[in-house]
C-alpha cells in the first residue's frame, strides 16, 4: 500500500545541510500494524508526516496505493489523504471551541456530506466508543484519555484505510494507554485498518506486527 524509495529530506542551516531523513526505503502492506521507534531527534515524526503527506521530501519517490504522489497535483494529493488517511496526535489537538460531537463531525464538513448523514455517522462513532453521554461537553471538560478517544474517533469517522498515530499514549497514564492500544488492535484486526504508530514504549510496540527502528534519519533495522 505504501512504498517509499530512497526518500531524502534535509534542511539548510546556514550553509550546511542537516538531514532529517536519509535514504529511507520502506514498504508497508495493507492491514499491517507497524511501529516506528527510535531515540529523540531520529526523525520518527518527520517520517510519519511525510507518509501522511503533511510534509514534503526533497529526493526520492513515494507511491501510495500504487500512485506516485509526485505526479499528483496539490488538489489531488489533499483529496488522497483526506479520503484515505486519519491522524491521531500526541497532544490530541482538539478544537477547544467545539463540543465533542462537533469535533468528531469536523472532517465530515470538508467532505460535503449532508447534515443528516453527518449526524448519523457521528452518532454511530459515539456509540462505538461509548461516549454518547459526553457529546455536548467541551474538550477542557474531559480527561486526557477521553480527549484522545475523541481524537481517535475523529480520525476514524470517515473510514480511512490508513491510521497514523504520533505517540498516541504519550500524555496518558498506563491504564488509559492500555485501553487505547487495545482499541488500535481491535480496529486493525476487525476493520482491517492499516496502522502506523510512532512510539517510545516497547510495550506499545508489541501490539504491532512489525517494528522499524530509526537512528539519525536512517532505518537501522527492521524487526
Amino acid at each position: 500500500m505504501i512504498q517509499l524509495n530512497n526518500i531524502f529530506k534535509w534542511v539548510n542551516t546556514g550553509g550546511n545541510k542537516t538531514f532529517l531523513l536519509r535514504d529511507i526505503n520502506l514498504s508497508i502492506r495493507e492491514g499491517e500494524f507497524v511501529s516506528i521507534m527510535g531515540p529523540s531527534g531520529s526523525g520518527k515524526s518527520t517520517l510519519l508526516n511525510v507518509i501522511g503527506m503533511l510534509d514534503n521530501f526533497d529526493e526520492g519517490d513515494y507511491l501510495f496505493m500504487e500512485k506516485n504522489i509526485k505526479d499528483l497535483k496539490e488538489k489531488h494529493r489533499s483529496q488522497v489523504y483526506k479520503e484515505h488517511i486519519g491522524f491521531v496526535f500526541q497532544a490530541y489537538h482538539l478544537i477547544d471551541e467545539l463540543t465533542v460531537f462537533e469535533n468528531i463531525e469536523t472532517p465530515l464538513l470538508y467532505r460535503n456530506m449532508k447534515s443528516t448523514e453527518r449526524k448519523a455517522a457521528v452518532s454511530d462513532m459515539l456509540d462505538r466508543f461509548n461516549i454518547v453521554g459526553k457529546k455536548d461537553l467541551f474538550p477542557e471538560q474531559l480527561s486526557g484519555g477521553q480527549q484522545q478517544l475523541v481524537g481517535i474517533a475523529r480520525a476514524l469517522i470517515d473510514n480511512p484505510k490508513l491510521l497514523l498515530a504520533d505517540e498516541p499514549t504519550g500524555n496518558l497514564n498506563s491504564k488509559q494507554g492500555e485501553e487505547i492500544m487495545d482499541l488500535f488492535s481491535k480496529i486493525n484486526k476487525e476493520n482491517k485498518v492499516t496502522i502506523i504508530q510512532v512510539t517510545h514504549s516497547e510495550k506499545n510496540a508489541s501490539y504491532g506486527s512489525r517494528i522499524i527502528n530509526l537512528l539519525d534519519g536512517r532505518i537501522e533495522k527492521e524487526g
Binding site: 508526516n49 503533511l54 510534509d55 488538489k75 489533499s78 489523504y81 483526506k82 491522524f87 496526535f89 497532544a91 489537538h93 482538539l94 478544537i95 477547544d96 471551541e97 467545539l98 462537533e102 469536523t106 472532517p107 464538513l109 470538508y110 467532505r111 475523529r154
Partner: protein, 799 residues
C-alpha cells in the same frame, strides 16, 4: 457549513472577550460616525431635488466688473423682469422679492397679533409659482395677478388665524402700511428646500404702490429682488447665456469702470453657493460636504486598520486550530472563507451596535449642523448604504488576516512554532499604526488651528465697542420717523442707558451698500465707496475714535461726512489732517465736505478686508436703534426700553438683540466646523488608542518570556517600560512627520478664507505631538506596567 463558521466565530468571541470588545467597539463607533455623516451629506444634497423640472430651473444673477475687482449680487434690477419676458419670450420668468424683518399685523375682534417673520415675507407673481411649484390647498397661482392679494402656507395660516380652511378673504397689514387680502393657501414646503415660502404677497402690489424699494431705475440693484427661469426642453444654458449677453449690452450703460452682465446658475447649485447665497436658511459649500465625506471615509479606514492589526496579531493564537483543520481536510480556500465569515460576524454585530449608537445620537445632530428637522435613520437608502458599507468593511478588514491565517502550514502550526515573527506582516502592521496616528494627528492639528482661529476672531479688536449694545430693528416709514426723536429722548432718561443713536446698520455688518463716488471735484474714482448712515451720536455709541477732525452735527439729511482710514489709503492721502475740508460726492449727488476721519474698524466679518467707508446722516435710513447700556441691571433696563417702545410704536413688534450675539452669528458655520473637528479628532484618537491598546496587549503576551528573561538578567521596571514604549513612540513620531505637512497645507488653505487670521506657529505642532504621545501612553500604560511588574518565575515556567 456557514452555521459551523458562525458558531465558531461566536464562541471565539466569547472566549476572548477583551479582544472582541475592542474590535467591536472600535468598528461600531467608526460605523456610527460614518452612518451619521452619510445621513447629513445625503440630506444636504437632497435640497429641492423633489421639484418638478428640477434640472430646467435657473436663477439669474448679476456680475459687476470694476477696475479693482468683480462683485456678484443674486439680484437683478427691477426692470430686468419685463426685459427678460420681452426679449426671451420662450422662457418663463418669475419674480421673487424677499423682505426680511417685515412685520405682519393681524387685527382680530379680540386681539391684535403682531409677528416678525424671521424667514422673510415674499412677493411673487403667478409665473413664479409655475416655476417653483407648490400644492395649492385653496386657490391657484393666478390669484397673485391681483394687487394686495396674499397667499399663506398652511402652518402660517394656522398660526395667524387658528384655521386655514376659512381664512380666505381675511385681511393682513404688512409693515403697518400695506394691506393684503388672503387669496390662497399653499402646502408647507418640506424642510429640505431653499424655498420655504410661508407668506407671499402679489408682486403687482409692489409695482402698483411703488413700495418696498420698487423702482423702474436700471441703475440700482438689490439682492432681495430675484428672478427665476424655467427653460423649455432642448434649450441649453450656453444658448441662453448668449442671449443674456445681448440683453446686457442693450440695457446696461456699461460706461466708465463698471461692466455689468447677467449670468445663470442652475437650481442644483443654489444650496451650495456660499458667495451668492439663497432664500433658504443656510448654504453649505460643496467643499464642506466633501470634507465631511472624507472624514467619514478616514474614520472607517481607521476602524478597519484596527481590525486588521488585531486579527493578524491574534492569528498566533488561532494557529493551532488552523493546523488541525488543515489536517482534517480543509483546504486553503475553505479556511479563507471561514476566517472571512468570522470577520463578517464581528462586522454584523458591530453594525447592529452602530445603528443603535447612531439612533441615540441623531437628535443631537442639530447642534453641530444647521438642520431643522430630525433625520430619519430607517429608510431604504440608509439601509442600502449600510449594506454596502458592511460588505466593503468585511472585505477590507478581513482579506489580509484571512489570507495570513489560511496560509499556515499545518505541521508548523501544530508544533506551536507560529509566533508573531513568522506570522509576518510586521512592517504592514507598523505601517497601519502609522497611518492611524497620522490621521489622528492631522485632525488634532486641524482642530487646534481651527479653535485658535475662532478664539482669535471672537476676541479680536473690532475697532468699536460691542459690549452691552442693544440693537432694535425697526422700520423707516413716516409714522416711525415721526416718533423717533421723542422715543430717543425718553429712553435716554432711563438710568441703565448710556447713549442712544439711530443708524442704517451697525459698524460691522454683512450688508454694505456701495456706490460710485468722486472726491475734490475730480471725476469718479475707480473703486466703490461703501455707505453707512447714523445720527450725530453714532460715533460715541460705538466708541469709534477720530484721528482727525470730528463728527457732524445733528441733521436730518446729509451735511458733512466722516470717512475711514482705508479710504484715505486708497486715495493716497498721506495724512488724515489733509483730508479734512476736502469735498466728496456720492452717485451724482451734491458735493459734501469731509469733517472727520475715524480710525479703521472692521466693517465686515473678519473674512474680508476693511472696506472704504463713508458715514453720514440721513434720517430716512434710520431703521436701527442702537443703545449702549450700563452693564448692570441689563434685564431691568431692557424691560423699561421695551415698555417705552410699546408706548411709541404700539403697532410695531419689539425685536431687541445684543450686538455681540449678532456678530457671533457671522461665524456660525465656522464655529460648527470647529466643533465638528473637535468631535472627529477625539473619535480618531480614541479609535487609534483602542487599536494601540490591543496591539500592545498582544505584544505583552508574545514577549512574556523575553520580559521574564530580561528581569532575571537585571532589568528594572523602567527598562521594561522602555522596551514597549519605544515601539509605539517611534511609530507616532513617523506618523507626525507624515501628518504635519499635510495638515499645515490644508489648514493654511482654510485660513485663507479669512482676511484676518492667525499664523500657524510651531507651538501647534508641538502640542499635537505631545497630545498624541500622552494619550497613547495612557492607553497602554496599564498593560505595560502589568507586564513590567510580572513575576519572572511565572513567565519562565515551561509548559
Amino acid at each position: 457549513m456557514i452555521l459551523n463558521y458562525f458558531k465558531t466565530a461566536y464562541r471565539n468571541l466569547i472566549r476572548h472577550k477583551s479582544y472582541a470588545f475592542i474590535n467591536v467597539s472600535g468598528l461600531a463607533i467608526g460605523l456610527a460616525a460614518c452612518i451619521l455623516l452619510f445621513l447629513v451629506v445625503r440630506y444636504e444634497l437632497s435640497y429641492d431635488t423633489f421639484r418638478a423640472n428640477y434640472d430646467k430651473i435657473y436663477h439669474i444673477y448679476t456680475q459687476d466688473t470694476y477696475s479693482d475687482g468683480i462683485d456678484y449680487t443674486p439680484g437683478v434690477p427691477f426692470p430686468a423682469l419685463k426685459a427678460l419676458r420681452t426679449d426671451l419670450p420662450q422662457i418663463k420668468s418669475g419674480a421673487l422679492f424677499s423682505s426680511f424683518g417685515s412685520q405682519v399685523t393681524i387685527k382680530e375682534e379680540r386681539e391684535t397679533k403682531k409677528f416678525i417673520e424671521d424667514n422673510g415675507v415674499f412677493f411673487a407673481d403667478p409665473d413664479l409659482f409655475e416655476i417653483i411649484q407648490f400644492k395649492w390647498l385653496i386657490g391657484n397661482p393666478g390669484v397673485l395677478a391681483e394687487p394686495h392679494a396674499m397667499v399663506l402656507s398652511k402652518s402660517t395660516a394656522l398660526k395667524y388665524f387658528n384655521d386655514w380652511q376659512n381664512c380666505v378673504g381675511k385681511t393682513i397689514k404688512l409693515d403697518n402700511a400695506l394691506d393684503f387680502r388672503i387669496a390662497g393657501v399653499i402646502e408647507d414646503a418640506p424642510y429640505n428646500s431653499d424655498f420655504r415660502l410661508r407668506v407671499v404677497g402679489s408682486f403687482k402690489t409692489m409695482e402698483d404702490t411703488k413700495t418696498m424699494g420698487y423702482t423702474t431705475d436700471w441703475g440700482s440693484t438689490t439682492s432681495n429682488f430675484q428672478v427665476y427661469m424655467l427653460f423649455p426642453d432642448r434649450l441649453t444654458e450656453a444658448n441662453v447665456e448668449k442671449q443674456l449677453l445681448a440683453l446686457s449690452k442693450k440695457y446696461y450703460k456699461n460706461e466708465g469702470n463698471n461692466k455689468r452682465l447677467n449670468l445663470l446658475r442652475p437650481l442644483k447649485d443654489i444650496h451650495y453657493d456660499t458667495e451668492l447665497g439663497n432664500t433658504g436658511n443656510h448654504v453649505i459649500g460643496r467643499s464642506t460636504l466633501l470634507t465631511l465625506s472624507l472624514i467619514g471615509f478616514l474614520i472607517i479606514i481607521m476602524a478597519c486598520i484596527n481590525f486588521i492589526n488585531l486579527s493578524t496579531a491574534q492569528a498566533v493564537s488561532r494557529s493551532k486550530e488552523v493546523g488541525i483543520r488543515k489536517v482534517l481536510g480543509s483546504n486553503r480556500p475553505q479556511l479563507f472563507w471561514q476566517m472571512l465569515t468570522e470577520t463578517n460576524f464581528i462586522v454584523l454585530v458591530s453594525s447592529l451596535l452602530a445603528v443603535f449608537l447612531a439612533w441615540l445620537i441623531l437628535p443631537y445632530l442639530k447642534h453641530v449642523v444647521s438642520l431643522e428637522e430630525d433625520l430619519s435613520l430607517f429608510n431604504f437608502q440608509s439601509f442600502l448604504f449600510l449594506t454596502c458599507l458592511l460588505i466593503l468593511v468585511t472585505f477590507l478588514a478581513g482579506i489580509y488576516p484571512s489570507l495570513i491565517l489560511s496560509g499556515f502550514k499545518p505541521v508548523v502550526a501544530l508544533k506551536n512554532k507560529i509566533n508573531s515573527a513568522t506570522v509576518g506582516g510586521i512592517s504592514l502592521r507598523r505601517t497601519l499604526v502609522v497611518v492611524q496616528f497620522a490621521i489622528s494627528q492631522a485632525l488634532i492639528i486641524g482642530t487646534i488651528v481651527a479653535i485658535t482661529q475662532m478664539d482669535f476672531i471672537r476676541s479680536a479688536d473690532l475697532g468699536f465697542n460691542k459690549d452691552a449694545l442693544l440693537l432694535l430693528g425697526g422700520n423707516t416709514d413716516t409714522l416711525v420717523l415721526k416718533n423717533q426723536p421723542a422715543f430717543k429722548e425718553e429712553i435716554s432718561k432711563i438710568p441703565g442707558v448710556q447713549i442712544v443713536s439711530f443708524a442704517s446698520d451697525m459698524p460691522s455688518s454683512d450688508n454694505n451698500s456701495g456706490t460710485n463716488f468722486a472726491v475734490d471735484h475730480k471725476p469718479d474714482e475707480l473703486f466703490t465707496l461703501y455707505l453707512k448712515f447714523g445720527d450725530e451720536d453714532y460715533f460715541k455709541t460705538f466708541g469709534l475714535t477720530f484721528i482727525a477732525g470730528k463728527g457732524y452735527d445733528k441733521s436730518d439729511t446729509m451735511t458733512d461726512v466722516v470717512v475711514n482710514e482705508t479710504l484715505l489709503k486708497k486715495l493716497n492721502i498721506t495724512s488724515p489732517e489733509l483730508a479734512i475740508g476736502k469735498t466728496l460726492r456720492i452717485g451724482g449727488g451734491r458735493w459734501k465736505t469731509i469733517c472727520g476721519v475715524v480710525k479703521d474698524f472692521k466693517t465686515n466679518s473678519l473674512r474680508e478686508e476693511v472696506k472704504p467707508i463713508m458715514i453720514s446722516s440721513k434720517r430716512k435710513r434710520y431703521q436701527l436703534t442702537c443703545i449702549k447700556l450700563h452693564t448692570q441691571n441689563l434685564v431691568l433696563t431692557q424691560k423699561e426700553i421695551q415698555r417705552s417702545w410699546d408706548k411709541f410704536f404700539p403697532d410695531y413688534v419689539y425685536t431687541g438683540s445684543f450686538m455681540d450675539e449678532t456678530i457671533e452669528r457671522f461665524y456660525q458655520q465656522e464655529t460648527q466646523m470647529a466643533l465638528l473637528y473637535k468631535i472627529f479628532a477625539a473619535l480618531a484618537i480614541f479609535i487609534s488608542c483602542l487599536g494601540l491598546y490591543g496591539l500592545i496587549s498582544f505584544m505583552v503576551v508574545q514577549k512574556t518570556k523575553e520580559v521574564g528573561i530580561r528581569k532575571v538578567l537585571g532589568a528594572g521596571i523602567g527598562n521594561i517600560l522602555y522596551l514597549f514604549s519605544k515601539e509605539f513612540a517611534l511609530l507616532i513620531l513617523i506618523a507626525f512627520i507624515v501628518a504635519a505637512p499635510l495638515a499645515y497645507y490644508f489648514m493654511n488653505e482654510w485660513l485663507g478664507n479669512f482676511a484676518y487670521r492667525i499664523d500657524i506657529s510651531p507651538g501647534v505642532f508641538i502640542l499635537a505631538m505631545l497630545t498624541s504621545l500622552s494619550v497613547a501612553f495612557l492607553a497602554v500604560s496599564y498593560k505595560t506596567l502589568k507586564a513590567a511588574l510580572m513575576n519572572p518565575v511565572k513567565s519562565l515556567r515551561s509548559e
